[in-house]
Symmetry: C2
Subunit: 207 residues, 2 copies
């Protein structure tokens, strides 16, 4: 998996900004992975939006991931699905979607990380690293120490998430994160593409 900037589209956190607009602008700013996350819209709406973002990602050589809904992911030929601890179990998802289909799993402890890797996760979403007001069910911040601990016990890519901004991103990468997932910090910016570019420079300084 490409270890670039990972953008999570969330319309709730970016009022007036659509999933498609967030995807388009962040891709033009160099995002390498776009995750469509929406717990409110109907399957028909998600399907239509996912098809557009699928094309945008293909044009930009980026990966497209759907949050939670494996059916929408498969129906739109997404590259993968992202599963929380309360979504469809990893083993069940993997049985329906063999590799190279990507399955990412949110983990909040070393134990969950080890179980997810053994269960066939292709990357681990670790967080929330810092306190965040963006996800009600995200739990307390785990800090960069958890990123380091998980890095010691697992080998799959770590996508760090939660409260990461341009000031603290270096610490997160230094702790062992391969990628940084950004919701509010980038998305709520008036210039999503420019904000994305700044993160991309931090994650891939050689680019």
């Amino acid at each position: 998996m490409d270890c670039g900037l990972y953008i999570i589209t969330d319309e709730v956190l970016a009022p007036g900004c659509s999933h498609i607009q967030i995807a388009k602008e962040s891709l033009s700013g160099g995002a390498k992975i776009v995750q469509l996350r929406d717990k409110r819209r109907s399957g028909a709406e998600l399907f239509a939006i996912a098809n557009v973002i699928r094309s945008l990602c293909t044009e930009n050589s980026a990966k497209f991931i759907v949050n939670d809904r494996l059916d929408i992911a498969l129906a739109t030929c997404a590259d993968g699905v992202h599963l929380g601890q309360d979504d469809l179990p990893l083993s069940a998802a993997r049985a329906l979607a063999p590799r190279p289909f990507i399955i990412g799993v949110s983990v909040g402890t070393v134990e969950e990380a080890v179980i997810a890797e053994k269960g066939g996760a292709d990357y681990l979403g670790v967080g929330p690293v810092y306190p965040t007001g963006t996800k009600a069910d995200a739990g307390p911040a785990v800090g960069t120490a958890l990123v380091s601990s998980i890095r010691e016990k697992t080998t799959v890519p770590i996508v760090a998430i939660g409260g990461i901004n341009l000031s603290n991103a270096k610490d997160v990468l230094a702790a062992g994160a391969d990628s940084i997932a950004v919701i509010s910090a980038v998305i709520c910016s008036p210039d999503i593409a420019a904000a994305s570019r700044k993160f991309v420079r931090l994650i891939n300084p050689q680019d």
Copy 2:
């Protein structure tokens, strides 16, 4: 598809009664199809519940259908999925789940019914036949006349739904419905199995 009693489990409409309990009791009363419908629970919870109902249906030679979530249906080896007009489009679902996997589609007009049949629906959910307080997004009652009109223009089984009770069920069957889907009328009964049996006798008088 067996044209017996079609039960939709809905915990919201039967407070204190779980999906599993509704399924178990209605199956013992002779239900031939059980649809798990739940818009609130997490994927992990739905998966666990669906696995249990899957087994119950197998033991009772009944079909198991999942509402909306094709991923949960496929992951639990359900017999099929039921799609509303605002769920994953039929064509996309059919591409992921070839026959004999059952796909049912809710239709509210003759045109929707013809499109669904052409698109590969295995049965049509027609309704709401009578006014119902059980589904906020169900739209105005369509009456038995729509069942008749759809019967004239299509050949796949019709499962009539919405406000059907022991008094009006005969009219619905006479209008051309092959099966009757029951939510509140059966589920809110203190004896789900006994109530199911009464509907079964109406639908299959020869049994």
